[in-house]
Symmetry: C2
Subunit: 302 residues, 2 copies
């Protein structure tokens, strides 16, 4: 029983860790097996290119990735449309029109740009290439996402201060500010540990799972902050007493649109988390154990 | 370069897939290697028991699992305390005291019991044993969680109907009802596919990753629903005009306690999602490829 189990474990490891056909062939070649066993393996297990699990995995990836990107674009379009059509548009003058930048910048930065930056390494197109440019792009997209988020916070703080509304009292605001703070720490930590030449390869290997888990947690918190914020805003503005507007409970068009935006946000977030959680779509990492530290310009992969 | 890379991939597969010391020894024995290579491997790589990555992994698991369970207990205690101390306690008479069952039952069922049921297979104590009793316990805990959630929904529907408040209009309610519906479908699907003797082993293997991803998504949605619900409730009850209560914006004790409860909920949810996402803590699954379907009473593992 244990013999069968462990042989299968090795077989499964091949399929999971060698997602590209070429890599899979190399695995069979490089395994420390007898020649007879190698020949038997080649005859029995190498399928036609179209049947490679890796190829299927790549196709499945794009079938998930492309709709996910469309959901992200839809989130940005819908939050912009909500603020421009129902909430009076945009300005930077301390008025409610300045507040409108808050949902747009947070959804664009802390959710959509962040989600795109998070799944960058999962794109199979990038796997055969030097990792450094993609690492710089990952850091760049995340920096842009962070700047959008900080600007989004400035918009709401300015509006609150001008209208003499206290800052940071609601659970939404606590979750939102904590998410942005964690994001800033994650970005700085990522810069120091994974990009700048001041950390060892062993430290990078040690901290990578934590960086990945923290990244997914920040995205989850971002979804929580977005949904609680939209819910709160719809209760604030749809009171049924100001300017003859219908109350939220009667589900006027703005309420239905806001709820629909919330569902889009949840769908985008869960799709990104789904892509991140699929081990078959992780960038294959080469041997780094025992490799001496290499500074940034010499680095290819870790 | 490819030779090194692929040898390392196999090494890493050993560490990840064979978390128990005994299993790890068996892996070396069962691998299709020459005798000389096996001997070399044994001399070079078998560490002292305390150094086994599997043993470290098990210890790390319990260091995460036990605080996570404490967070769950704290969530149930705090939501009960909030409703009994500040919201007037509990009843089942259509009043606001019936509403109080809603947060308590949802947090207990859809979050804490659900989270406990989800991580059940990750407990290393269960790995060396027949899977069926643990599968029945997983289904049982999840059924209890579902019953608590449905009862929690009944509490709020009854209260709304008695007070003539419309049901299901807010984004919180849309997310909450969708989460409970997905949970019910997930439970029924899990029963049919993974427990009852009416599905094939290949179907189980095919659907298992989807079941796991959907399970984690339902937990994420549950966190979103809990946070948006607490945020909404605190705005409803802390208006600063009824019975001389202070407004939410001045952060009276109830507001601070409610926000603290929200943070506990987020911490518990992220801890459970972190445990679920760690591949080293997944129950090792034996070979099932090509195994004919076995009915429930004969089944040991899939």
């Amino acid at each position: 029983m244990p013999r069968n189990v462990n042989k299968e474990v090795i077989k499964q490891a091949d399929a999971a860790d060698c997602p590209l056909p070429l890599t899979r062939l190399n695995t069979a070649e490089c395994r420390s097996e007898t020649l007879a066993e190698n020949q038997k393996r080649e005859v029995k297990t190498i399928p036609a290119p179209a049947d490679f699990p890796g190829m299927r995995s790549v196709v499945t990836f794009y079938l998930c990735y492309l709709p996910c990107m469309c959901l992200g674009v839809a989130c940005v379009a819908c939050v912009s449309l909500w603020c421009s059509r129902w909430r009076g548009g945009f300005a930077w003058d301390g008025s409610a029109r300045q507040f409108n930048w808050h949902p747009v910048l947070m959804v664009t930065g802390l959710l959509v740009l962040y989600g795109n930056g998070a799944v960058l390494y999962r794109i199979p197109l990038t796997w055969g290439q030097n990792k450094l440019p993609w690492k710089l792009l990952h850091a760049g997209v995340m920096l842009l996402a962070l700047l959008f988020s900080v600007l989004g916070l400035c918009a709401v703080f300015d509006f609150h201060n001008a209208a003499q509304i206290p800052n940071l009292y609601s659970l939404h605001s606590w979750i939102g500010i904590a998410t942005t703070a964690l994001f800033a720490m994650q970005w700085l930590g990522g810069l120091v540990v994974f990009l700048l030449p001041c950390s060892t390869m062993s430290l990078r290997k040690l901290l990578k799972p934590f960086h990945v888990w923290m990244g997914a947690s920040i995205l989850s918190l971002s979804i929580v902050a977005c949904i609680s914020g939209i819910n709160e805003k719809l209760f604030f503005v749809l009171k049924g007493s100001v300017n003859g507007s219908q109350p939220y409970s009667l589900l006027p068009p703005e309420a239905r649109f806001g709820n629909f935006l919330g569902i889009l946000i949840v769908a985008f977030g869960l799709a990104v988390l789904g892509i991140l959680s699929n081990s078959k779509w992780q960038r294959p990492e080469p041997n780094t154990e025992g490799v001496a530290y290499r500074p940034l310009h010499q680095e290819e992969d870790e």
